[in-house]
Subunit: 417 residues, 2 copies
């Protein structure tokens, strides 16, 4: 086990703009992403070349009252009557779709497949979105006693603070960093730095003739409950990823046909996936996610590389604490040292280990079923040197880390130029 029967490469990747689009359906967002991905294929790709689709989607069931979303999306981009399989692993729904796409090609069943993700979340009021996301926790034990995702991740955060001395300043650093990156991403939902947000707030207050607080810096701003209210202590608004509509689309091909489509394929050299009990109370240690450690181990082993070889990574920062835990689970830093590393700038765009150059879920947005495929879009751009102002120079090996729920599912993929 664990060795691909044949190699698989990314030959194209694209996404819709992420954001809140009351006038667009999930179908329209999907078409937007599909066209963007088609345009990214250097030598072009015809629908007739695409043999199957794997679609990550968390719950069109609860968000849109629509199950059986796969064939709808396939139809809207002209892929009917080809096989389309929807995969669901909460917010890792399209991360696990990537793994299915890899298997589909390596198995010999298909040469070229589409792997995608889509979610339309903003048609429900926020409280109902919170409840819908809560359905990814254990609904027999966690949800009925009032657990929500901010609450569950706050529990992880306080445990991490207690065990390792992780600080609130470290949490806030993640948000500041990711908004700094997202500012450079034209597809991001909130392409504004925290400093931009602070200055905007000051300007607004002045316009109203009110006295603006004398915030010394972003950290000061982020501790002010008027600017950044507590959601679930220690997590405040800017520790939480937003509610987002969006879609992302990838094309995968067998190595032997990839060059037909591009001279610069991105090879998928590692794939890993793991699971763990949904309920936090069932786990031995909640400062780490076992599913992520398993997925990482599997992906590193297949790729024949280690954490030290990863030059750029998109990790699942649904909350700021989640990025800290992710960078530890992936072996980038020792347990308990993720926060410190962020604070020291190691994970900044110009640091030794740039994390979430896209802006991450925090600033780019988190259309849950699309987020995993969206991460791969960023790695595709970075490894090809097409990430524009947020480009990290000379990167050859990248990684995506996509978590579902509080870690019940995790998919990790490793890519090489």
């Amino acid at each position: 086990m664990g060795k691909l029967a044949r190699g698989v490469a990314l030959i194209g990747a694209g996404m819709s703009k992420f954001g809140a689009f009351p006038d667009k359906t999930s179908r329209e967002l999907f078409v937007e992403a599909f066209i963007d991905a088609r345009n990214s294929v250097d030598n072009g790709i015809d629908n007739k070349d695409i043999e199957a689709m794997f679609l990550g989607n968390f719950s069109s069931d609860l968000f849109e009252g629509q199950v059986h979303t796969g064939p709808i999306m396939a139809d809207w981009v002209g892929l009917v009557p080809k096989p389309v399989t929807r995969t669901e692993g909460a917010c890792a729904s399209s991360g696990i779709a990537i793994r299915c796409g890899v298997m589909a090609i390596a198995s010999g069943l298909h040469d070229v497949v589409c792997v995608a993700g889509v979610e339309k979340m903003t048609n429900l009021p926020t409280s109902r979105v919170t409840d819908t996301l809560g359905a990814a926790s254990d609904v027999e034990y966690e949800f009925p006693v009032g657990a929500t995702f901010p609450g569950l991740y706050a529990t992880i955060a306080t445990a991490h603070m207690k065990k390792y001395g992780t600080t609130i300043r470290q949490l806030r650093t993640i948000g500041i960093k990711n908004h700094d990156n997202g500012k450079l991403n034209p597809k991001a939902q909130f392409p504004l730095s925290i400093r931009d947000l602070m200055e905007k707030r000051i300007k607004k207050l002045k316009e109203k003739g009110e006295e603006a607080p004398s915030w010394r810096d972003e950290f000061d701003f982020l501790e002010d409950p008027r600017a950044n209210p507590v959601v679930a202590w220690p997590l405040r608004l800017y520790d939480c990823s937003p509610i987002t509509d969006g879609a992302a689309v990838l094309f995968l091909a067998a190595e032997e046909v990839a060059r037909k489509y591009t001279d610069t394929p991105i090879h998928i050299i590692g794939s890993g996936q793991g699971s763990v009990q949904l309920a936090l109370h069932d786990r031995a240690d909640i400062t780490t996610i076992l599913a992520a450690r398993e997925a990482a181990k599997m992906a590193y082993r297949m790729a024949g590389v280690g954490p030290e070889d990863i030059q750029v990574a998109e990790v699942h920062d649904c909350f700021t604490i989640a990025e800290i835990v992710a960078t530890e689970d992936l072996g980038f830093f020792k347990p308990g040292e993720g926060g410190k590393a962020a604070e020291e700038g190691v994970t900044a765009r110009d640091g030794e280990k740039p994390i979430n150059t896209s802006g991450g879920l925090k600033s780019k947005g988190h259309p849950v079923g699309a987020s995993g495929a969206g991460q791969a879009v960023e790695i595709w751009k970075q490894l090809r040197g097409e990430a524009g102002k947020r480009q990290v120079p000379d990167v050859e090996i990248g990684l995506t880390h996509n978590v579902g729920g509080t870690g019940g599912t995790c998919a990790v993929h490793i890519y090489r130029r």
Copy 2:
């Protein structure tokens, strides 16, 4: 494309009892099926051997308020922290999971995987189940104008009747045949023949002191609205599969390790899947399902066999008309001749082409996400000569045909002893 990098075999298969179990959760039904499947492996299997799981589930989201069902099921049978991927393709959710399991092994990523399906439907009142299933139609175009699945399949039935002269008697024949088969299946939800149901009714009326109608035979009974009310003409109650709770579990292994587990593996020699527009009004012809024809073509080509070679098949009889259409789409009979073949006894257990020896969805029950895996359980038993009183003698090649919605998704698999 279309050729497996390495062969895949079924090494075990089991299922929970199908039925309405108000006191059992989906977790408990899943455990029941998993234990039954473990017990079916001749030389035994340890959890440590099972490397991943693919779980078909239609909508635990809407039925149970639980998304992210995969890791829950994995945890309840002790498979955490292994990868678990939920697949959704409406009522074909576990049929497409079988294809993912085949790919997982053929790709070289895994040697042994669990493929399963689960659905808990009866905790909702019937009207809400109808609405929940309706979410597998196109909810922008079909569902809002009042379409339900009985209504949509009734539309298919009337079109088939108009185009080919298919008769109501032919529809009823399917129900009678499948209940005759299901009577011999101890796991079936309604293990009673239509004649049994008729006699039961007569007895009950007599006990009440009422005059029993003088039904000449089953057909007469089935045309009496007191015994068999119209649901959506021409479909009556006994043309419709029931609402069911249940789970089914399969174990798949690479050919080179299969003999470790059993001397009688069942080889999966063909796998096909297709899609079509969800909405009936988008299709050129509604008397046939394009997704099924595509899936069948793909599966036959891979297996190197044709419809004439299939000795026993489980097809998706969610409604009686669906079985007629299925047997035509699979090439067992020419378009328009499926009803006639059933009426002539060709598809009976002792006919030339025995269909739905398990009782089919009609009598065995239709826990939607589990039905596809459940079909494979029957083929496993038939090809190994373990189907008890419903055994078809000396069968070597079998087929499963699992449809989602009105055909938006279809998976076909072919098996050889």
